[in-house]
Symmetry: C2
Subunit: 245 residues, 2 copies
């Protein structure tokens, strides 16, 4: 099992050249790791965060609760991500975080992070960069849910998650974990559950992908990418190669 420090160093290193001193600084951080059950919340809308979370393994979701009771998923996070670096400077959380499947998350006090930032400004910049990459994903979600027709919308989401899973080395063969129910997919993409089902059925029928038992399987990457109008530039990953031919 990987340690919190390792996944963080690997993930930051994906976007930033970390100096030896930065790596040492990170290794000195005191993470407290906790395990979460599927659908367990660990930061709630309205909380005043004092700790930052780091996804060590599993999958984490951000979501927003409306007065109407409707839930909107905003983003998903994989191993190495800092899902609430978004909360670093924020008085009160405007969204919640929960585990999707079983997940393990490491926590660190904001205070300690800020001390490390001060000592190693390049470390701070690398975390800042992470938050901007998150923001790029948010922007793409606006576009996806507002401007793309249902089939493309769903295909695009699968492309993004598969591509990111691959970058995080979570793809084995042509499949990766994706513990999302149809209802959750609907609350992500802004469609009713029946529509989710029918749209997914169409995608399956196209032979490009399949999803069952909490797993996503991509049979024809290029074709799925075409269906979703997916172009990975907005993810700003160094390694830009496609998941497979």
């Amino acid at each position: 099992m990987e340690k919190a420090h390792d996944v963080l160093i690997r993930n930051l290193g994906e976007h930033t050249a970390l100096a030896q001193e930065d790596v040492a600084e990170i290794r000195g951080l005191t993470f407290v790791q906790r395990e979460f059950a599927p659908n367990e919340d660990f930061i709630r809308q309205g909380d005043e965060p004092e700790h930052s979370a780091l996804v060590v393994s599993g999958m984490i979701a951000r979501y927003r609760l409306l007065d109407s009771g409707r839930r909107q998923y905003l983003a998903f996070h994989l191993s190495g991500d800092l899902p609430d670096s978004q909360g670093l400077f924020i008085d009160q959380m405007d969204h919640g975080l929960c585990a999707l499947g079983p997940a393990s998350v490491a926590f660190i006090p904001h205070r300690e992070l800020f001390i490390a930032f001060r000592r190693r400004p390049t470390f701070a910049l690398s975390v800042w960069r992470e938050t901007l990459l998150d923001a790029a994903i948010f922007r793409e979600a606006i576009t996806n849910n507002s401007a793309r027709p249902m089939h493309a919308r769903m295909a695009h989401l699968f492309c993004e998650l598969f591509y990111r899973a691959r970058a995080a080395q979570l793809v084995r063969g042509n499949r990766c974990r994706l513990p999302l129910s149809l209802a959750q997919l609907g609350e992500t993409l802004g469609m009713a559950i029946a529509t989710v089902n029918r749209t997914l059925a169409d995608l399956r029928r196209s032979g490009t992908m399949d999803m069952h038992d909490g797993e996503l399987i991509v049979m024809k990457w290029r074709e799925l990418q075409r269906l979703g109008g997916f172009s990975p530039t907005y993810l700003h990953l160094k390694r830009q190669s496609p998941p497979h031919a």
Copy 2:
């Protein structure tokens, strides 16, 4: 007419307590100001940014262009905003920026900003915070365009823009500039232009607001807020008072 430094200091000061040294550092920055005509682009999708932009006056939009030719507006920026701080660490812009009405924008090289960040870490943190506030607005846009019915969606957008305009002291009486055509409103909210028109007509008929000649007028703030399910917490502004009773 306000100078670039002043609007930046005012805006950062809205969220962060800036030290005298930070203010001095900002005053030392060399901005180059330029005027833009309505709908003029100044950063294009695909550009490799080397300068950061600061909105001095007028209104700026981010947008994303799809292969289909469709345009999706992502966010709007007012005086004092740093619309492409999002591009600070990014190799290639995944979205463009354009003026909505006539606007004046000040530019500064990334290189110079980074030097200032290094000298005044609190200045860097205050800009970082700005980028996180942007991200919070992105998240709300996901929610808005995915989870709210058309009327609420439009009302919510007007609430946000009015609230922010007020925070930037751009509201006189019960009105502020909003140089958006119906087509642009549609490309923001993900609705067809006819729907925009009918929805807007309904809002007008409700007597809560009006919009014409590039101006937004809010007659019944509370009622409009209710229609849009708008709660300003996600804007994380210090001054939380409602625009008017």
